[in-house]
Symmetry: C2
Subunit: 210 residues, 2 copies
């Protein structure tokens, strides 16, 4: 856990800045904000990081290393591909519900137009995560394009949490993500059986639309 003599000081700054970057994005966070949250002055930040850009990069990589480990562990814990899918959807939906930082960081990154930054993030933070889901998709369903299936699985899990911010104000919206058991069942049933093959039992409680 030790990197160099400055790592404790840097880590305090990284933890504080993850919260801020997740909330308002790279451009929405000022070095003054980070300094205040870290209990330092702006000038002190520039002793540890050469620029706001580099601070952002290190903060994002720091945050996503943990995610990659959680997902890899969830897959290792199950034996059959189907059980692995259920396991990974379960831990992912728990993480997304309890920790909005990861979700929002990913949203900001999808909107980033800085290609250099995206390449660095891909290599340092997302490659392992994607490859893990690619392999799972290959084993789950050889008849599908594994890349497309992996993206579909990731999207069907993540998107509802992203959209919740907007959909919560619409009439007829059911907050299924609030009930993890129902959400898990919905996702796994839809992915495995589709709406043609799924049995009646798949139905989760629904409020009537106004």
């Amino acid at each position: 856990m030790k990197y160099d003599s400055n790592s404790e000081g840097k880590e305090k700054i990284l933890v504080a800045s993850i919260l801020l970057f997740a909330e308002t994005g790279f451009d929405g966070v000022s070095m003054r904000d980070v300094a205040e949250k870290s209990g330092l002055t702006p000038a002190a930040l520039y002793y540890h990081f050469p620029s706001k850009e580099q601070l952002y990069f290190e903060a994002v990589v720091f945050a996503f290393r943990k995610v990659a480990k959680i997902v890899a562990d969830a897959i290792s814990a199950a034996s059959t591909p189907t059980a692995q899918l259920e396991s990974v959807v379960d831990v992912a939906s728990r993480m997304l519900a309890e920790n909005r930082n990861i979700l929002r960081l990913m949203q900001w990154i999808k909107l980033d137009r800085n290609e250099e930054r995206l390449r660095r993030f891909g290599a340092a933070a997302f490659q392992d995560l994607y490859l893990t889901m690619y392999r799972l998709a290959s084993e789950l369903a050889p008849q599908f394009n594994p890349s497309a299936l992996a993206v579909s699985i990731i999207g069907i899990v993540i998107f509802p949490f992203e959209a919740h911010a907007v959909f919560q104000f619409l009439p007829g919206y059911d907050d299924l993500e609030g009930s993890r058991a129902h959400f898990l069942k919905h996702v796994v049933t839809l992915l495995s059986d589709g709406f043609v093959g799924a049995p009646q039992a798949a139905k989760a409680p629904a409020t009537s639309i106004a």
Copy 2:
């Protein structure tokens, strides 16, 4: 098509600002930027709109009115629920591929933390769209929670286009969204049959992972 005596002037500003807000979001666009793109000065914008906030609101509503119409038309054009699903996925994926503005505007809105703004957007821009998908989900599969199914369908179509910005740099990634025919077949097969019930024929061409 006529609203009031100022509408032509306002519309020119709205069209210009939609492009800018889609690219860099509310905070990333300055009134100076909008003025330059509209061929006016910042002070002139304040004759047509009382604030940057109100300009943003009108621009988003203006953009999404067209989307709601396109989706509603796609559903009207087909008779059975299954055909309606295929039709709506088809036009949506075409729109998302050809017009990044709508996709990115939606992404910025999902990240917005201004509840008042989200309520206004919901009522003015997204309510009809959501209700249309809710009804389609109900008819497609009564055994699923219609709200959850509607969100899943929307997510499985939209998410790949959002993630493309990041995933394009990862080894093994297949740009299936670039081939609309394959993407359409993938989505409809997965949603209707799942990976258990889908026939071998569902497979789309794949590059091998490195």
